[in-house]
Structure formats: C-alpha cells, structure tokens
Symmetry: C2
C-alpha cells in the first residue's frame, strides 16, 4: 500500500490561500510573492508545459513531491468552476487540456457529474458520497503508489481530522496573508502528532516534511 | 540605535500558547512537547540557573537570542499574577528572585505599580500609558543595545501592527495546539513584509529568522 501525502504551500500565518478566491484569482487576495518561488522552478515549469526554470534545492523537493503518485483527491473549490451545480459550458479545471496530474483525480462535490477524461492520462472522477469514499477510491486506483490529498486547506483539514494522512510537507513562504483558507483549523479535539522527516531551507521558502504518528 | 527583536516559539498551527493559561500552566493546555527542545539546551538551563544541558545548533541560536539585549517589553499576561488589579501578596513574576533578564523590563498593564527591583540586574517597570510609550522607554533604557518584545502573542501582534519590529525569529515546533494565543492575528490590513535572514533546522524545531522590511 502506498502512503497518503499532503504537500501544501503555507504562509507564515497559516494560510494556503487568501480571501476572495475566484476564477480570476485562484489563490485569492494578499498573495504577492506566495507563488514566485515555485514558478521559477524547472520541475514546476515542466509540469505546466513551460520552458526553462531553475534547478535548485526547491526544485529537487518539488520533483520528489510529484513522484510515485497514483491518484489525487481534491476539493470542488480547487477543481474550480464556482460553487453549486456545474456550469454550462462545462468547467474542465484550471489546467488546460493536459492537466499536470496524469493519474485519476477524485473531486469531492455535492453535484454529480460524469467522469471527465483529459489528455495525458488525467481522468477526473466526481465523488458525491464523501471524503472517506473518495479516499478509498483513490487508494484503489493508486495501487502500490501514493495518494496525494491535493487541497484546498479545508479538504486537507478534513483528512487530518480523521487521521487519514501519513505525511504532510509544508512549503512555508515568508509572507503574511492575513485571512482566507487556513490549514490546521478545527483540529482542537483531533490534534495530529507530528515528527519532522526533513527540512530544506532557502531564502524564499522553508520546506518541512512531517510524518504523522498513528 | 539597537534593533527591536521578537523571538517566539510557535506551533505549526501558529500558536505561542495553548488555551486555558493560568498560574499552574503558563503555556496553557495542549502543549505537550512544545518546550522540551528548549529545556534540553545548556544556554536555557544556564539562564534559569539549572545544571547541564546540550550544546547543539539550537543552543547556538538561543545564545544569540539572548545576546546584545538592553531591555525587554512584555505583556501583563506574560509577567503573570492574573488579570486585573495587582494581588496581595505581591506577584513578582514567574522567574524567582533572579529573573533571566538582567536588564530593565517594561510590563504593559492597566494597573499602576511601583518599579520592582530583583536580583541580577532585572528591574520591572509597569507602564500604563500604552505600547508605544513602553517601547520608547525600553529603547531609551537599552541605549545602543537591542530591545526584545518578549510576548505574549497579543503583544507581539500589537507591535507588528504598528510596524515597530525589525526582526522576528520563530522557533517552529512540530505540534498542533489547536487553540489559544495566536501569532500574526489581526494583521489583515497591516501585513508585514518579511525576508528570511537565516534558517537552522533540527528534527525538534525549525528556527527561522526574518527581517521585517520597512
């Protein structure tokens, strides 16, 4: 069995996204410099079909993040297309015709929809019977490989709450966002216990990977 | 002129202390393993008049933290003695007859009190005319040395809000506290801009020091 992994960018005040997220700004307001370090990396640029980029310690971390994944689970907000019933014309995600997943992706939603097959091996499945069911389907699809809980923050918090996560890696970016979607919320009565696996620090971002003790 | 510095322990979910702080538990509930790394260090043990301790990268960080300080500012809650008018018999702080400050310490309070002289050069002054006045007095007392904003979280947030802090160092401990006194709260309309100065990582704690850009 593979692991259930989380890899999230987090501001110093704990946010994974700012306030007022929307189609024109998937990370919301107040996120100046939140993404810059990532878009410089060769690994991320390759993943998004862009040229160039730096190879540096963060690049190595991001390559590792993307390796050995057999499936991803994400929330409806991360898939996008606004809340509520699916819009017409169909919203097929933020990522164009060839999304950077190349595996099955299970999207948590209250609104049923037929599976959506994209280029490059990404297939989106829309799961309406809850977080645990979605994770079970993702594990089955992943086989021996790992499942990534892709986000957003609320979805990660939900899986942390039920003790379903094996590893969490934070890319801690030195900015204060001040509001929005916060990681580690709602865990007062279900506090995960953590152990540091590895730290990679650069002036732009601190990558810390934790094992969650069971 | 010296710098205005902050050095705070912070949980992964942003807390400097848990819920239900009180005389028997200055850091509140849910803080298992929050302090362990610090109490192992030779520098901290020396400061508290205790024997032994490890010398390791965290120890070096803590020695640097304690050096070149000319004065400290702290909140009434950090000084202790409960909220409201000063109790009888007098509460003289958590730290015994010889507190680990050895400089003037300015305590923010609504309740006037005569200065309190302790052993080893620590003198507590009780400031009733606000945070800016306390910082001015601390700067004057510190001369060319630095002023430390000692805490707690609310006091640090107050000084961050008015742009009075030059450096902030976080000792990020891999625990989830889930509630209590949170750093970086109330800054949505006064977000500090930060730059990493230095990172020291161990399995027990991640020390990251930031310069606050003006």
């Amino acid at each position: 069995m593979g692991k259930v992994r989380v890899h999230m960018m987090m501001s110093l005040d704990g946010y994974a996204a700012g306030p007022n997220q929307g189609p024109d700004k998937p990370f919301g307001d107040n996120v100046e410099n939140f993404l810059d370090w990532a878009f410089k990396l060769k690994s991320l640029r390759e993943m998004l079909g862009m040229e160039g980029g730096e190879t540096n310690p963060s690049d190595t971390v991001m390559r590792e993040t993307a390796s050995n994944l057999g499936a991803t689970v994400m929330g409806r907000n991360m898939f996008g297309g606004g809340p509520g019933p699916w819009p017409q014309p169909a919203w097929n995600g933020w990522w164009g015709d060839n999304p950077p997943y190349h595996t099955p992706v299970f999207v948590l939603t209250h609104h049923p929809r037929e599976p959506l097959t994209m280029q490059g091996g990404t297939r989106f499945f829309f799961v309406t019977d809850g977080a645990e069911a979605a994770l079970e389907q993702a594990k089955e699809a992943a086989g021996d490989k790992d499942v990534r809980i892709g986000g957003g923050a609320n979805v990660v918090n939900q899986y942390l709450r039920i003790g379903a996560v094996d590893e969490i890696e934070l890319h801690i970016v030195p900015i204060i966002i001040g509001g929005g979607a916060r990681l580690f919320e709602g865990l007062e009565d279900a506090r995960p216990r953590l152990e540091v696996i590895r730290t990679v620090a650069t002036p732009e971002v601190t990558h810390v990977k934790y094992r969650i003790l069971k």
